[in-house]
């Protein structure tokens, strides 16, 4: 932060505007206040908030209003329906299976990339980003072409009596695909910042690889790990396109919560659709709150280290 500077006696920068303001500028980072500036500022805030209202706030508010417009009764009714419960259970199951695997992979990939220099390193990092830029439908398509009955591995899988597409394994792999980069991306910069001094010191003092990992590396990356895990959980809970292609959307068998929302909407069961939507929206809100809190923890952590 630079200290505010005393105003020098130069020709007024606002020579076109009437000389309404002779007072020194406030000692903050704001540009000097003048009537025009205040209106410009208020106008900018108003336009930004209006746009956000149209695109984000009203749609978010609408989820809650539609879900509870007939009271809590119909909402609870949906929550008790077997279709909803099996969809919620399946969504949770997929998350529980996918998140730890991707977190473990993310740590491995981040350590591997942070602790080595080689040509093509930038290529591997952008390869990691690939799942972010591929359309979820194309992800699902690739899974069908690989594991489906007419896919590449189809005959072999059928011979072994393993069903992947239109079944749980396919949905797990598709979800793992779309959430692959999150943890690695968040942990990698922390590892690069941390350097290798502490790890080398521990090794010289006789620590084993596992001890170094548990006592030195993991405590240093824990918040980034948690942050990446939250992002990937939010994505896994809501993944629609890829899962929709590989699931076949069989009610009570391969229907996740987002698929339940779409199916109910298509069947004109608006109440059921919004009841499930509100559950997902609440989970998203929790993820956002945790994310905001963690961002503060992370920046505080960084501030302490740089001191």
């Amino acid at each position: 932060m630079t200290a505010p500077k005393p105003k020098m006696d130069l020709p007024s920068p606002q020579s076109q505007t009437p000389p309404a303001d002779q007072s020194p500028p406030p000692a903050s980072n704001q540009p000097p206040e003048e009537p025009n500036a205040i209106w410009l500022q208020r106008g900018a805030i108003a336009i930004a908030l209006l746009y956000l209202a149209a695109i984000l706030f009203l749609p978010a508010l609408n989820v809650f209003i539609q879900a509870f417009q007939n009271g809590v009764g119909p909402f609870l009714e949906t929550l008790q329906s077997p279709d909803f419960q099996s969809a919620a259970g399946l969504t949770l199951l997929i998350c529980v299976l996918v998140i730890p695997v991707n977190a473990a992979f993310g740590i491995c990939a981040a350590i591997a990339l942070a602790r080595s220099q080689f040509t093509g390193r930038a290529f591997v990092i952008s390869l990691l980003d690939l799942p972010f830029s591929i359309s979820p439908v194309v992800v699902g398509l690739m899974m069908v072409l690989l594991y489906g009955r007419r896919g590449w591995f189809g005959p072999a899988l059928e011979a072994a009596d393993i069903k992947i597409v239109f079944a749980l394994p396919g949905m797990i792999i598709a979800t793992a695909f779309v959430t692959l980069p999150f943890v690695a991306r968040e942990v990698l910069p922390l590892l690069e910042e941390m350097g290798t001094d502490q790890e080398e010191a521990a090794r010289i003092l006789g620590a084993s690889n596992w001890q170094v990992f548990w006592r030195i590396t993991l405590p240093n990356i824990r918040w980034g790990l948690l942050y990446g895990t939250i992002l990937s959980t939010a994505r896994a809970l809501g993944e629609f396109g890829a899962v929709s292609v590989v699931s076949g959307n069989i009610i009570r068998k391969t229907q996740t919560l987002p698929l339940f929302v779409e199916e109910a909407y298509k069947q004109y069961e608006t109440q059921a659709a919004y009841s499930a939507a509100v559950v997902l929206a609440l989970l998203a809100a929790v993820a956002l709150i945790l994310k905001t809190v963690l961002e503060q923890v992370l920046s505080k952590d960084r501030g302490q280290k740089s001191e």
Binding site: I45, L52, L56, L58, A60, S126, I134, V137, L145, E262
Partner: protein, 274 residues
């Protein structure tokens, strides 16, 4: 630690995990897609990939996503500006809410946007008397792409804006530059790489978007049918060749976009080392 002379057996175990997992998760599925696409003679592949319905779907996907990304380039920068520079009540809440499209499942977004922008909806009813229908038209596709790509611009511009040095702005002011000149000649050149990167990231996300668009649009060919929905429909009809041909085009285009974004980010960081 250096990788010992690229001998796969001497690689550290974490590298082996990474390579096996990436091969299994990323490379194998992509290979399966290319395998299916190349099972067709090239003429036939090209015929499907550039059939009128496919061309119109690319046009709607890429065209609408480009419009959405540019609109968000403006509003996203404005929102980032307001969040960094101006105090107002509820700012923290607004700041956190900008990430909502990252967290809210796309099916939920599609559901609520379709309702709000329908003829009886909170926003749609103001447009209906003007003869403008939003939900179930290409405008609905645009709205859901606006929703999905907004945070990319805000979150890319925000940190750059936060680090800008006020001294340069003040220098411009005290040398007699008007507010507009200061913005155009001093601020914009510094913000521009971040804005373009944010727009590109948002564009890339919007092009692939499926969940919200499939609910908000009517999915009519030549009107509001986007390429991912076309792939989905081809799969539903067990037309694997058709789905693979269009999917390959989409995959190649997303690889190109990924490369472009990486170059853009490198360009944006070109002065960092100084």
């Amino acid at each position: 630690m250096k990788i010992s002379a690229l001998n796969p057996l001497k690689l550290p175990w974490n590298w082996r995990v990474v390579i096996v997992y990436l091969a299994f998760m990323l490379l194998l599925p992509m290979a399966a897609l290319f395998r299916q696409a190349s099972s067709l003679p090239f003429d036939e592949f090209w015929g499907i990939a550039t059939s009128p319905i496919a061309l119109s779907a690319y046009n709607i996907s890429f065209g609408t996503a480009a419009i959405a990304a540019v609109i968000n380039g403006f509003f996203g920068t404005l929102i980032a500006w307001v969040l960094v520079r101006y105090p107002f009540p509820g700012k923290k809440l607004v700041d956190a809410a900008v990430d909502l499209p990252f967290a809210l499942p796309t099916a939920v977004a599609g559901l609520t946007l379709a309702t709000i922008y329908s003829e009886q909806g909170w926003i749609g009813r103001w447009f209906a008397p003007l003869g403008i229908q939003i939900s179930f038209t290409r405008l609905g596709v645009l709205v859901s792409m606006l929703f999905i790509s907004l945070p990319f611009v805000v979150r890319t511009v925000e940190p750059v804006l936060g680090e800008l040095d006020h001294d340069i702005e003040e220098a411009a002011w005290s040398l007699g530059a008007s507010r507009f000149e200061t913005f155009r000649k001093v601020l914009l050149p510094q913000l521009f790489p971040a804005m373009i990167t944010g727009v590109a990231l948002g564009f890339s996300r919007a092009v692939g978007e499926f969940g919200s668009v499939v609910i908000v649009s009517a999915n009519l060919p030549f009107q509001d049918l986007i390429a991912p929905v076309l792939i989905f429909q081809r799969l539903e009809q067990y037309d694997f060749e058709g789905a693979a041909a269009i999917g390959t085009v989409m995959l190649l285009l997303s690889l190109v976009m990924l490369l472009g974004i990486n170059l853009l980010q490198a360009w944006g960081r070109r002065y960092d080392r100084s």
